[in-house]
């Protein structure tokens, strides 16, 4: 069992934090991971920056642009992560668009992930069906968990396919939206969370997109196994610095 499955077995109301590798500073990757470790978050998602992040809102777009102009590359990220498991035991997932992974070489990418101790991958523009047909074998060879997204529009039939293919958790997109912080959920979102909860899927659920504060985090936790925060954290460290990470996590968790 890998770190992702273990943490879901052990804990409820998980908090997973996303950050863009290479932002705010090119060498902040391990600093951020150390801070998140100290803050006792339950999972970390490292965003591999991409020039054209289709599913992301302005905050992650800007952080990706900055990271790329800082000089972040796939090779550099793996180099920075080589001591990852000396500093933290938290499950770590890489979230990246498919094209940079394809150019790096899928097999080489997976092999490097395994070597540095990455537990899984989220590739938002690699659809479940194409993954199953063409790439599943490679990811499984390196024991990487693949996590897929569902949205309020995803049919139950497709959710079942995604549940079969996902190993670790299902990433439940909170609304019709790209990533970005929002203040609260409306009644339609809550209904959708409840509908999915009732499906009794084999994977746990993490809610992402639009989680920004204690209120949205708690609402998400009531209807799932936890939540993912990205844009709100990126904004926070941009304004207050990476060293204030613990303060941000306290705002969410305490």
């Amino acid at each position: 069992m890998n770190r992702i499955n273990k943490v879901f077995n052990k804990k409820k109301n998980l908090l997973s934090i996303y950050f863009t590798a290479g932002f705010p500073g090119i060498n902040d990757t391990l600093k951020i991971i150390k801070e998140l470790d100290k803050s006792q978050v339950d999972m970390i998602e490292i965003g591999l920056p991409f020039s054209d992040p289709l599913a992301d809102g302005p905050t992650i777009q800007k952080s990706s642009e900055k990271a790329l102009s800082n000089g972040m590359t796939t090779n550099l990220l793996f180099d920075q992560l080589k001591d990852l498991r000396k500093i933290s035991d938290i499950p770590v997932v890489i979230m990246g668009y498919f094209n940079p992974i394809l150019q790096y070489g899928i097999e080489k990418f997976c092999s490097n992930c395994k070597d540095v101790g990455i537990d899984g991958l989220i590739i938002p523009d690699l659809p479940a069906d194409i993954f199953k047909k063409n790439y599943k074998i490679i990811f499984e060879k390196y024991k990487l968990n693949m996590m897929f997204l569902i949205t309020p529009q995803t049919s139950n039939e497709r959710i079942n396919l995604i549940d079969d293919l996902s190993k670790g958790f299902i990433y439940m997109v909170s609304s019709y939206s790209v990533t970005g912080a929002k203040d609260s959920f409306d009644k339609y979102q809550i209904e959708y969370f409840k509908r999915i909860k009732k499906l009794n899927l084999s994977n746990p659920l993490l809610i992402g997109f639009g989680i920004s504060n204690k209120k949205t985090f708690q609402a998400a936790c009531q209807n799932s196994n936890g939540a993912i925060i990205g844009s709100a954290y990126i904004k926070y460290i941009e304004n207050h610095g990476v060293s204030k990470t613990q303060d941000f996590i306290k705002l969410i968790k305490d």
Partner: protein, 394 residues
């Protein structure tokens, strides 16, 4: 016989498919399941053809270019898409897609635009149908294509600037996709070229194929054959080329020539010659050839013609290139501009700069006296007057 059209999975050889975030799955799935059924229905065809005839002004003429033919000692025909309403072939596709969107019950239209031609063609059909219209356009393009921005506004469209990345066509496309993610139920996204996730490349090619089918019919009257020896068109994303080539894709006796923009020279660092500079990857949901860094970051192309500076080409064209079914030629800014002037002064037709690129192959390729060459005269030059004025100090 090898098939150069799309297969049932949405691929052209190695290229195509639908590499989309899950948020877009229901929309793309809906289109995949319905686009052929709807667009091949009797009712749809009747409405589509009627509008192409009454509103767009089709059929566009096939014109025998006498002076050019004499000069190059061959037979040169121009398919006059520049005479379409709104000044380019783009409207064939927007008419098709707005009818499709209505059949699917969509209430709102979004589109991306680079030079503004597709934006104008989309705003036009939205006005025609009384549908809300939002056009995404890169901030940089908005400032360099002011007349088309004004046209879109006059037609009632909202023009929203794309302020991310390089602030040009690819970023406008990203913004349109993000809008669609946020408005998946009531909105249809009219993509302007044969790019994007399946079924867009095939759907747009089908709506543009009227160009090729008309050409066949018209050529029969001139030459007693439906088949030319060469079909030639400029390729940015590739929609005017796809439309002309469509009926000839699997006819090996017809040579296919794709003309790309070399910008300031293929290896100058400022070029849009994707077949030479591009590598296989994924852009806007489609596996195709695109210009990118070795790390897979998409790079910004350059051409003097705003309609050709897209960092990818459609998957149909990527397959024509890889399979060698099509010949690819790149034309730099100065040759394209020169041919804008030649066509104006030899045939009395001021072409769009995109279109000028295609004609410049007359200096690069040898043709025989019995060859029958069809150029897609895809757009007129009004929108480019400023560029022509500055370039030639007119």
């Amino acid at each position: 016989m090898k098939n150069f059209n799309v297969n049932k999975d949405g691929f052209y050889g190695d290229f195509g498919g639908a590499f989309i975030p899950e948020m877009l799955f229901p929309n793309i799935d809906e289109l995949q399941k319905n686009y052929i059924k709807i667009s091949e229905s009797k009712e749809f065809k009747k409405e589509f053809n009627q509008l192409l005839h009454d509103y767009v002004g089709r059929p566009t003429p096939l014109y025998y270019a006498k002076r050019l033919s004499e000069k190059f000692k061959t037979k040169i025909y121009l398919k006059r898409e520049d005479l379409c309403h709104t000044g380019a072939h783009k409207i064939n596709n927007t008419i098709g897609q707005i009818l499709l969107a209505k059949k699917l019950g969509k209430k709102r239209i979004i589109a991306e635009t680079g030079a503004g031609q597709h934006g104008v063609a989309t705003a036009t059909v939205c006005a025609l149908m009384g549908v809300e219209c939002v056009i995404y356009m890169g901030e940089v393009d908005i400032s360099r294509q002011a007349p088309n921005v004004a046209r879109m506004k006059m037609l009632g469209a909202k023009v929203r600037p794309a302020t991310s990345g390089s602030k040009t066509l690819k970023d406008a496309t990203n913004e349109a996709i993000r809008d669609w993610i946020s408005n998946p139920v009531d909105t249809h996204y009219i993509i302007g070229s044969v790019v994007g996730p399946h079924p867009y490349p095939d759907m747009v090619a089908r709506f543009q194929s009227v160009i090729g089918y008309e050409t066949k019919k018209q050529l029969l009257k001139f030459e007693n054959t439906e088949n030319p020896t060469h079909v030639i068109a400029c390729v940015g994303g590739g929609s005017n080329a796809a439309g002309l080539f469509y009926p000839f894709l699997n006819n090996k006796n017809v040579n296919i020539v794709c003309v790309e923009a070399a910008g300031k020279g293929v290896h100058s660092g400022e070029s849009a010659a994707t077949s030479i500079l591009g590598t296989e990857g994924i852009i806007h949901g489609s596996k195709t050839l695109l210009m990118q860094t070795k790390d897979g970051q998409i790079t910004e192309p350059y051409s003097i013609s705003a309609g050709l500076d897209y960092p990818g080409i459609g998957p149909m064209h990527a397959n024509l290139f890889r399979s060698k079914r099509g010949e690819f030629i790149s034309i730099d800014d100065s040759d394209a501009m020169k041919w804008g002037l030649i066509l104006s002064q030899m045939e009395g037709i001021i072409p769009a700069i995109e279109t000028s690129h295609a004609f410049a192959v007359l200096d690069k390729m040898k043709f025989g006296k019995n060859d029958i060459i069809i150029f897609n005269c895809s757009g007129r030059g009004d929108k480019d007057l400023d560029t022509y004025i500055n370039y030639f100090k007119l």
